[in-house]
Symmetry: D2
Subunit: 435 residues, 4 copies
C-alpha cells in the first residue's frame, strides 16, 4: 500500500484529471439522503423465502430496466462453443443463489451513485448482514471511496551460474527495461508495463514486471506479455541464464502475501464513512463507542492470529460478488486481505474505514461475458470497457458495509443470534424490522 513519489504523482494526476484538488475532491463528499438526495427504494421482502417474494424482487429490478432472465433461469443454456477459453471437460453448470444488497450509496472518483449489489452465496445471514451495513452507510450519505493504485505483476526468475554473471546480466538489463514495452505491445494492446522491479538474490535474479491491464483482471495477459518481454531481454544478453521461469512464485498470484499487501496487487481501493450516532443506534442497536471498543479487541486478536493486515471478513463480500460477477473467484485468496479501522469520533459518531490493496477484478474478459455474470455486472453498470475501477470501488464499499455490520453485531452481542436466525432453516422472521 506504499507507493514511490513517482507513482504517487501519476495517481494524483489520474484522480484530479486536471481539475483543482478541492473542486475535484467534492466527488468524495457525503450526500445525505435527508438533505435533498433521497435514496432509491429497497428491493421488497428481502427476508421472505417464498415464490411470491422472489417474483416481487425480480419485478422490482425489471421495472428499473434491469434484465434478470438468465439469473431467473429463463434464458437458454450457454452453448458449449462459447465456453472455449473458460473451461475444459464441461459437464454443466453449478447454480449458486444470488441475493441483492442495496441501495448502497458510494461517493467515489469512479463509482458515484446508489448501487444494488448482487452477491452469490449459500451462507445464511450473509446478505442480510451486508444489507444492514449498506443501510447505515447510505443513510450516512454514502461511502467515500477511492481506487488508488492499479497493477498486476508477473515475476520471472533467471538462474545464472554465479553472482558475477547475474550482476553482468543486470548491468545489461536494467538500462533496457524501458525498451520492453514494444515486446509487450506485440502480445496485447491493453497491457502497459509500468515498472520492472529487480531482486538480486545471488545467482538468481527475480524481476517483478508491473503492468496496468485496463479493464481486465489481466493475469493471463501479463503472463503472455512477460514471456515476450523476457525473450526480448534475453535475445542480446551478454550472458545467458542456465534456466529461467516466467514466474518465480514471487508475484503473489493466487495467494495471500505480505508483498502484495505492502505494494498493492490488482487495484488498491479505500473507503470510509462517518455514520451519525443516531443511525448507528437505530439500525445497529449499539453505541459507536461499543463498536470502537470491539474494533480494538478485534485488532488485538487479529495481530495475535498473525493475519496479513487485520480485518473482519472481507472474504465474504468479495467471494459473493466475485461468484455473481464472473470474476476469478480463486483470487479471493489474495484479495481478501487488508485493513479496517473503526472509532468513535469526538462528536460521538462512528467512523469506519477499509483498505483493500489487492482487488483483482475485471469488467472485460474472463467470465464476465457469461450470461448471469453479465446481468450481475450490468445491475451495477459495471460491465465492459472503462468500468473496472468503478467495479473495484463498489466492491470496496460493500466490504466496508460488511465490516461495520459484523463489528456492530459482535459489539451488541447479536452475532450469534443473527446466525441462529438466518443460518438455520425455519427460523427466519418475516419482517425486516427497521427498514
Amino acid at each position: 500500500m506504499v507507493v514511490t513519489k513517482r507513482v504517487a504523482k501519476a495517481i494524483l494526476e489520474r484522480i484530479l484529471q486536471g481539475e483543482e484538488p478541492r473542486e475535484r475532491l467534492k466527488l468524495l463528499e457525503p450526500r445525505v439522503p435527508t438533505k435533498g438526495e433521497p435514496l432509491p427504494p429497497h428491493p421488497p421482502c428481502a427476508t421472505e423465502h417464498t415464490a411470491d417474494a422472489l417474483e416481487r424482487r425480480r419485478a422490482f429490478f425489471r421495472e428499473r430496466g434491469l434484465c434478470l432472465d438468465q439469473l431467473a433461469g429463463e434464458g437458454p443454456e450457454i452453448p458449449a462453443e462459447e465456453l472455449e477459453g473458460n473451461i475444459e471437460g464441461l459437464v454443466g453448470f453449478a447454480r449458486v443463489p444470488v441475493g441483492v444488497v442495496g441501495p448502497l450509496r458510494v461517493n467515489g472518483s469512479e463509482a458515484h451513485g446508489d448501487f444494488y449489489v448482487p452477491m452469490a452465496t449459500t451462507e445464511g445471514a450473509l446478505v442480510a448482514s451486508y444489507q444492514r451495513g449498506a443501510e447505515v452507510i447510505s443513510r450516512a450519505g454514502g461511502a467515500t471511496t477511492l481506487c488508488i493504485t492499479e497493477a498486476v505483476s508477473r515475476a520471472p526468475c533467471f538462474v545464472f551460474g554465479n553472482m558475477r554473471e547475474a550482476a553482468e546480466f543486470l548491468a545489461y538489463a536494467i538500462p533496457r527495461y524501458d525498451s520492453l514495452q514494444s515486446a509487450v505491445d506485440e502480445t496485447s494492446g491493453h497491457c502497459r508495463l509500468d515498472d520492472v522491479r529487480t531482486v538480486m538474490f545471488g545467482k538468481e535474479v527475480f524481476l517483478v514486471f508491473e503492468y496496468a491491464t485496463g479493464d481486465a483482471a489481466g493475469q493471463n495477459m501479463v503472463t503472455i506479455a512477460t514471456d515476450a518481454a523476457c525473450r526480448r531481454l534475453l535475445e542480446d544478453a551478454p550472458v545467458q541464464p542456465r534456466r529461467w521461469y516466467v514466474e518465480g512464485n514471487l508475484s503473489g498470484d493466487k495467494k495471500a502475501t505480505m508483498l502484495s499487501f505492502v505494494y498493492a496487487r490488482g487495484r488498491k481501493v479505500i473507503s470510509e464513512v462517518t455514520v451519525p450516532r443516531r443511525v448507528v443506534q437505530r439500525f445497529l442497536h449499539v453505541d459507536p463507542e461499543e463498536i470502537a471498543r470491539y474494533w480494538k479487541t478485534s485488532i488485538l486478536g487479529g495481530v495475535q492470529s498473525g493475519s496479513i493486515g487485520v480485518q473482519g471478513h472481507f472474504a465474504n463480500a468479495l467471494t459473493a460478488i466475485f461468484m455473481a460477477c464472473g470474476q476469478d473467484v480463486a483470487c479471493v485468496s489474495e484479495a481478501a486481505i487488508g485493513m479496517n479501522h473503526m472509532e468513535a469520533t469526538e462528536e460521538g459518531d462512528l467512523y469506519a474505514f477499509v483498505a483493500l490493496p489487492n482487488l483483482i477484478v475485471g469488467t472485460v474478459g474472463g467470465g464476465t461475458h457469461l450470461p448471469t455474470a453479465r446481468e450481475c455486472l450490468e445491475m451495477m453498470d459495471c460491465h465492459g470497457t472503462g468500468k473496472a475501477r468503478k467495479f473495484a470501488e463498489v466492491c470496496c464499499a460493500a466490504a466496508l458495509a460488511g465490516e461495520i455490520s459484523i463489528a456492530a453485531a459482535m459489539a451488541a452481542g447479536q452475532f450469534t443470534d443473527a446466525h441462529a436466525i438466518y443460518g438455520r432453516k425455519g427460523s427466519a422472521p418475516n419482517h425486516e424490522g427497521d427498514h
Copy 2:
C-alpha cells in the same frame, strides 16, 4: 500443523482403528495401474467445446449411474422456500461452468478409490492443468493421503478491569473447561469441545474453543455452541467481565493467518506421490530434476513474497471444488494456505507432497443440499454423513495434482503456452494429446 502429544495420541487411535500399524497403513500404499489395478476411463473429448462433446461427457457419467440433471439445467428451479438458511434477498442463480477432472486415484485412510472431481471455474486451462496432474498421479499408483487433525474454533474475548481480575476469572474458569461440553450439547448434538486454549493478554482474556463438528464445516454450529458455553462459564464466575465478545478475531475465520497455519483449522490433510521418471517425461515433458529445481526457485520466491506457507496455487483447486460442491467458498481465504514440496528421488523419480492445514469443508449442512452441489458431491460419493474426511482427502489430492502440473509447466516453459492455448477463445486444440 503442530499437535501436542495428547492430540497426537487421539489422531493415531482414530487412524489405526485398533489394527496393527503396518497392517492398517497398507491403505496408503500405491496401487499401480499397470500392476493389476487398472484405471477407469477418462471422460471423453475433454478439450472439445461442442454440444456433441458435452453430451458425450454427460452420457459417460450417466452410464456410470451418476445423475447430472441439475448440472445440465434439466431439473426444475429450486423453490425459494428451500433456500431459507442459505440466502436472503434472492433474485436468482449464478451459473458457473463445471468441468470434471479424473480419474484421480487416491490412497487415503478415508478416500480410497478412483475419483472424478467436479471443478467450477471460468478460467481456461485450469481444468486441463489439473487433469494433467491427475493423470500422472493416477498412473503412478495414486496419491497417498491422510486427513490428520480436525478442529473448528471460536475465540471469545472477555475484557476485565485489570489483570488481577482477569487472573481471578481464569483461576475460576480453567478448572471448569471440562464441564462446558454440557452447555455445548444443548446447542447441537454434533459438536464436541476438544480443547479450550487460553490467551492471557493483560486485562483481556481470549479463549480459543476448539471443536470437532462431525461432517459439517461447522462455523455456524461453533458460534452458537461457544455463545452457550461462555454464558455458562459466566453464570457463577466470581468476577464478571466489563464486556465480552463471542469472537475476538483470533480464530482465523475467513482469513489467512499464521495461527491457523500453525495449529490447523478445519481439517489438516497431507498427500504425496512418487511419479516414475518415464511418466513425468511422457506426460509432463520435462525431467524430475527440472521440476525439483523449479520447486527450489518457487520456495525462494515464495518466502520472499511473505506468504503464509509456500505453495503454487492451492486456491485454484479449492475454489473450483468448493463452488461446485456447495461449500462456503469464502473459506478459500483461509483454506488456500499450506506447503508443497517436490524433489527428484535418488532413483530419478519425482516426489511431490502437499500439506493443507485449513480445509474447511462439510458434506452436510451449508450449501451441500443444493441440487447441483449434491450432484457434484455424489459424483465423488462424498455427500452426507460420514463423508467429510473423505471429501477433504479428495480435495487435498486434487491440490497435489495442481501443484505438480503447474511446477512442471513452469519448469518446461509451457506455462505461457497453456494459457495462450486454453485461456483464449478459438485457440484450443481438438485433441488431448497423450491421454
Copy 3:
C-alpha cells in the same frame, strides 16, 4: 501465547501455590507510594556526564550494599581459564557503558519490590527514556507482572522414504514420548521434557521437544537432551529414517517467528499498569487520551509494516539488559517481539500493557558468571538459582516502561527533541527536570 487446557492448569497451580486465588493474587495489586509504601531514592545526577557525578552514583549503590567494582574497572581481568565454555579465540573484552534505571516498582508473582535496572547501551536518550517510564510506573504503584509460560524447544526432523514409513514411525513413537524423560535425565538434572509436539509433513516428521530448563536459558541443554532423546527413540524403531537432524529450523532459535509468538518460547511474561492522569500529565507532559490515540496509530502502522506482533521498541530494553547481565544477546532477535496495548480508562487514566512471549533469559549458566554480569544481576537480586522467573518479570516491567515513554514522546511531539538533546554530544541539560 496460546496454551492448551492441560498447560493452563499447570500454570495456574504454579502461580497459586495452593493458596486461594483472591488471596494469592493480592501480590499483583498496585502499591501506591503516596499511600504508605514510599519509593526508594533515585541514583543521583543521572544526566550529568562528569567524573564527580559518576562517583556519586557509584557511592549511592555501594551505600546500599551493592558491589560495582567490576563495572568500575577496578577488579582484575578475568582469567582466560574461566572463559572456557564462553568463547574461543579470546583477545580481550569489549567495554559497553552501563547506566541504571530505577527505582522501578514491580508487583509480580516472583519479582516483587523496587528495582534498579542496569542497561548497557551506547545510544543516547535510551536510559533517560526508560527512566521516565519507570518514574510513572512506580508513582502509579508499580507494574503488575506475571511470568506465565516457560518452555525452550528443539525441533529435530526425521526424513523417511515415504509417508507410510513416516506414519509407521509415528505409530511407534507417539506412545513412547513419555518414556523419553529418562534419556533426557542422563544429560542434565535440570531439564524436564514437558511435551513432544508432532508435525507430520509427508515423509518428513518434525518433532518439537518442549522443555522446562530451570533457571538456565537452556538452549545448549535442550540440544544435548534432544539428541539423547532422539537416539533413544530410534534404538528400537521399526523403521529407521534415511536422515535425521537434531534441529530442523522449526524451533525459532535465534530468530523472530510467528510460531514462537503464538506458542511462547522461553518465558512468556505480561505486565500492566494504570497511571493516574495527573502523573501522566506531570511527567509525560501529555494527556492519556493523546497517548491512546498515538497507540492506535502505532498499531495501524505496525500491522502495515508486517511485524510479528506490534510494539514500539522492546528490543531496546532487552538488548540493554541482556548485554549488562551476561545473557545471550543474540536472543534479542526472538525475544523482541510481542504486543503492547494502551488506552485511556473511563476515569481518564492511562492503561498500558505489554506481552513478551519469548523471553529467553537465565540467571545461571551462559555468561551470568562473568564479573560485570554478576554485579548487574545482583543489583536486582537476580543472580543464581531460583531467580530466572523473577529476572524475566523485571525485564518485562522495564519493557513496559519503555513503551509508555516512547508513546508519550511521540504523542507529545517530544521524540525528536529527546534525541536531539540526549543523542548528540554537548547538548544534554544538567537538570533532570521534574524528578
Copy 4:
C-alpha cells in the same frame, strides 16, 4: 529486497563507477589461495583458554600493527564526559569477551581483502563455528559480496478529519516532496532524502521518508531530518492535520518486519561462495549433497515456523560483531532477518548464499568512537568515513560463514557435539584439528 527501475539504475551506476561491467565485476571473482593468492596466517591457539595463549594471540595482532590495548584492559577508563550522547545514569562498563575469527577472505565491491573479524559473545562454540565457516570460504577463494541498497527511513503519520481532507493534503504535498531536501539539509549535511513513499490510509496518511545517511547508521539523524521536513511541509499546507507524529510505527525501527525485508532497510548486502567438494569434506566432514539436503529441510522448517525470510542464525554473527564494534545492538532485532540458500552444484561442490536486507550499521557516530569499539573496527580497517559499506560487506560475509558452518554441523550430526565440547567448561580440546 525489491527495487524500482529508477533505484536499480542508481545502484548500478554506483557499483560500476563508470567502468565496463565485465571489467568492474572482476572484483567479485574468487581468489583461490592455492593459485597464487595465499591466505595470511590464523591467530594462534584459538581454542586454548590459557593466559599464555591469550598473550600469543594479542602478540599476533600487535605484530600486524593492530592496537589491542583497550580490549586488553590496559588503557585508562573512558572519561564520563566522552560518553555524553551515548548514555545516561552511567555507573560503569560491562565487559564482554571478544574473540577473533579469520582470516576471512572477501571479494566485495567495497570490502576486498582478508579480514580478522572481532566477535563479542559469551556463548561457547560460537567463535569456533564461525572460524570453521571462514576457513572453507577463504580456502574456496573468498566470499563474493555486494552491498546493494542503502536506506534508512522514518515514517511520520498525519491524521486528518476525513479522507477528503487527507486527499487534499496529498494533492498539495506530493508535488512538493522534492523540495524537502532543503529542510533536511538544515539538520544535517550527511542526510540525503531519496524518496518519500506515500500510504493513503483513509483519513490517516503515512509518509515513508527514505534517506541515505552516509557512513552513519543514521536513525537519530533521520528522526531530526524528518521532523524538519514535516514542519516544512505543514507550513503552507491548505489543510492541517488534527495530529501528526514523527513516526507512525511503520518504519520497522527496532523490530523484524516484512516491510523491511521486502524493501530493505539499512544496507542490503548479499554474499555467495562456491566451496570445492574436497574442502567441504576435509573441513566440514560431510558431502555437499548432505548440506544441500539439510538446507531443504531447514527451509521447510523455517517456513512452517513463520519466520520473516528463512535462515539459520544471522543473529549470532551480527550480535557478536555489533557488540564488539559499538553498533546499536538493539538493531539486531531488525538486521537478523534474511535468506540463505545452499545447494550442491552439478560439479559436486557446495554453493552457499546469504541475503541480509536490513543491515543497520555505521562506522561513524553512535558507539563507534568508544575505545574498544574503535579497536575492533580498525582491526578490519572499518573505522570512520567511507567505510560503512565495507563494514556491511564484512558483516554479510561473516554471516555466510556461520550459515555454512551450522548447516554442515547439522548435516553431519556434529551440532550437539560442538555444543557439548565448546559450550561447557572443562571439555574443550587443545587442538584445532585440521587447520
